[in-house]
Symmetry: C2
Subunit: 233 residues, 2 copies
DNA sequence: CCTTTGTTATGTTATTTAACATAACCGGGT
DNA sequence: ACCCGGTTATGTTAAATAACATAACAAAGG
């Protein structure tokens, strides 16, 4: 099948795509109703309060989904990897984004038209089931995050964030360096702590030999201990 | 249509039932594959780690869904009202409960068989869409709760909990007394704080004339201020 | 009616975390 | 190379919250 651009192809055919297994005709319909946007590092994909234009597929790059609190403090609710989708929720309920999203690397997004998707789902229970499954998983993830962020201590929360980053973005070729470059502020936003505390706690884990820190490159040295801190901290 | 017992009837025909609009034949199928359980106040509906038997409908009563943390401290993730459903997630992904649930009043639950429901959903995109919609709503709720519980101060968290309780269970006939009786420990678990702090903060709101407290009966006196504290606390 | 047991209330102390202040560092642009 | 602005690092202080201790109270059962 021929696609207009590599970005939409990636969204529809990529390794983890929701739309795997969909028939070519339906894929064509989706591909026929999308727009591509280039987003620079640091730029917003969308802001809380804006109207959703559809389901967003992060074709290339990396992004964060977050809520802006008082005083500019952000709480990150989700880190998104290549081929990840954003905005299942705005698809089915509200049309208004209840969170903001920003690129943490230069990215390309495809916006898949809401009405097209909903129309497809109405006659394709299989596709709808896939959405349901993903929403369930996200719900489970969100609920566990709530528990972690409220009950764990600062060290445990940071450890968990590092594990989340590893699970989301994986390692560099060396097999130990996290394949993502985040500011300390973002790490703090992900871990529900202040930037100072993120820096301090990273230093702590580093001097304990559990992780290595060189600027924004973070290596996980002692996975077992890190997971231990995550589970019991 | 005739049902075997009032409990399953409630689940299928109750005001907020997921299954509203389903045709009689399908409803009959669901009704043909369920079990009813009576649960006493304080008893578990299920425990984290147990195998799910299906989708639970709280036919009568009230319940809480929670995670048990270290030292017996509970974080409540959801309060369930009459005719509420529990366990969408276990239906689609894991078969294992990742949370526990307990009755906070004597209750009757219907357990609707997983395979029956999944089979129905596979051929009924409409029903599946309903699940999808509810899951989206729950996901949105869960994400906002994460933000609230992590970013708000203790007074704001408690105010939010009271509002959640009002929105879930409503008021008594007097139009101001919360129609639910929770221990201070449960209020604490819902608000992510210790029991002592729940008691103290309730006293505080009470002496400020925002709420009234007489044992477990809580009245909301000044809604505007309470919502204000919730939003800016 | 009294005992028992769990819940609620309140004061005190300890701990965790945020807030603030300042300095060192680092990368990009000229 | 050198400045500049943002990031990172580290120390100090303040605030929020948990932990602990104890007492009052209330409901349930003998």
């Amino acid at each position: 099948m021929q696609y207009l651009n590599p970005y939409i192809e990636n969204c529809l055919e990529g390794p983890d795509s929701l739309f795997k297994g969909l028939n070519s005709k339906d894929k064509e319909t989706i591909a026929g109703h999308h727009t591509v946007n280039h987003v620079r590092r640091g730029d917003y994909l969308f802001r809380e309060g804006e109207k959703s234009r559809g389901l967003i597929c992060l074709s290339t790059g990396k992004a964060k989904v977050f809520k802006e609190g008082v005083g500019g403090r952000e709480q990150i609710v989700k880190m998104v990897r290549q081929n990840g989708f954003i905005g299942y929720r705005a698809l089915f309920t509200e049309n208004i984004w209840s969170f903001s999203a920003a690129a943490i690397e230069d990215s390309n997004i495809c916006v898949l038209e809401k009405t097209t998707l909903v129309k497809l789902m109405k006659k394709n229970a299989d596709l709808t089931m896939k959405f349901t499954r993903i929403l369930s998983e996200e719900l489970g993830y969100s609920n566990s995050r709530t528990i972690s962020l409220t009950q764990k201590h600062i060290r445990g929360r940071l450890a968990e964030s590092l594990i989340v980053l590893r699970d989301t973005y994986g390692f560099d070729e060396d097999g130990k360096t996290l394949n993502v470059s985040l500011s300390r502020e973002d790490i703090a936003g992900l871990s529900n702590m202040t930037t100072s505390n993120a820096i301090r706690t990273l230093s702590g884990l580093s001097s304990d030999g559990i992780i290595g820190v060189k600027g924004r490159r973070i290596t996980i040295i002692d996975t077992t201990t890190l997971e231990h801190i995550c589970n019991l901290g």
